[in-house]
């Protein structure tokens, strides 16, 4: 199925959890902040929340800053 990730269209496995999908992109879910359809997820929800066709994910993380 197709979903939108940081504004880009990506292919995701049907019913993949947020944690699974983030891992398949090569990122450690523990270090990623996730918004799913505009809602901030707590880290404990990553394994429980599943992606749906057309959903929008924002993946954010800490970078260097002053």
């Amino acid at each position: 199925m197709k979903i939108i990730v940081n504004g880009e269209e990506k292919e995701a496995k049907q019913e993949a959890s947020v944690a699974e999908f983030v891992s398949t992109l090569g990122f450690d879910p523990e270090t990623v902040v996730v918004e799913l359809d505009g809602q901030i997820l707590n880290r404990t929800e990553y394994a429980e929340r599943h992606l749906k066709e057309g959903c929008e994910l924002e993946l954010i993380r800490f970078i260097g800053g002053g």
């Binding site: 940081n6 450690d28 902040v33 993946l59 954010i60 993380r61 800490f62 260097g64």
Partner: protein, 255 residues
């Protein structure tokens, strides 16, 4: 020891993590600085670069992370960034920055106060980045911020304490720690801020872009210690006229 919101820090030098040439140089510089508090920013992930991860470089048991809201142009954006940070496990501390003008990066006092009020009510430990405005510092203290962070000079300018006299007023009035932030370009600038009685300083650019960032981090560490020691020791009074160090009596034998 410096205490902010009940947390104690041995080091009064806070260090930013931006602009370093590599993650390894940043890590070495932060270790040399002996900083315990380091600032970080939140940004959208570059999906093509999984390796670019500050969390894998810095040991969070060694460094206390102070996430900032850099990039926020108004109160709403700052609050959203703070909430994202907290949700990510970044804790409830936030360096509140609201900078609507990318040319000056000067903070918006009105939106900073609005965001501070909202974040404090929501349980955040708020350290607001502000212009060196003594009245605003009091207003922020009144709404419950854990510190105030007046700028020495605009971010990244390395110009030193051009707001010196306003910062002196802020220090005199403050009931919360005063962290001089932004624009400190040399260890002597940091030392001066500490001599004036600042509780801590935050430095990023001056260390990150130095010829040798690791050596400069150590230099800032020493500057902050020197300034703090001088403040505690009590500086001598400045005089307009010379005051002889050697006795002016007992010179009859050469007259």
């Amino acid at each position: 020891m410096l205490t902010i919101a009940g947390k104690t820090f041995s080091s009064r030098l806070f260090t930013g993590t931006g602009k370093f040439s590599s993650a390894n140089v940043m890590r070495q510089a932060l270790l040399a600085s002996e900083s315990e508090m380091v600032t970080v920013a939140l940004r959208r992930i570059d999906l093509n670069d999984p390796e670019d991860d500050i969390m894998q470089v810095l040991d969070r048991t060694k460094f206390f992370f102070l996430p900032n809201t850099a990039g926020a142009r108004n109160a709403n954006e700052a609050v959203r960034l703070a909430k994202l940070s907290r949700a990510s496990g970044g804790g409830n501390w936030v360096k509140l920055e609201v900078t609507p003008d990318p040319r000056t990066l000067l903070p918006d006092p009105v939106d900073t106060l609005l965001a501070a009020e909202e974040l404090v009510k929501d349980g955040f430990i708020v350290l607001p980045y502000i212009n060196a405005d003594p009245i605003l510092a009091l207003r922020l203290q009144d709404v419950g911020t854990a510190a105030v962070m007046p700028l020495a000079a605009p971010i990244g300018t390395n110009r030193g304490l051009i707001t010196r006299y306003q910062i002196e007023i802020i220090i005199t009035q403050a009931q919360v720690p005063v962290v001089v932030d932004a624009g400190l370009g040399a260890p002597s600038h940091a030392a001066l801020a500490m001599e004036m009685g600042a509780d801590a300083v935050l430095v990023n650019t001056a260390i990150a872009v130095a010829g040798d960032p690791v050596q400069m981090a150590n230099a800032f560490r020493l500057g902050v210690i020197a300034g703090r020691e001088a403040f505690l020791a009590g500086l001598g009074v400045a005089n307009d006229e010379a005051q002889a160090s050697s006795p002016q009596t007992g010179l009859d034998f050469i007259r």
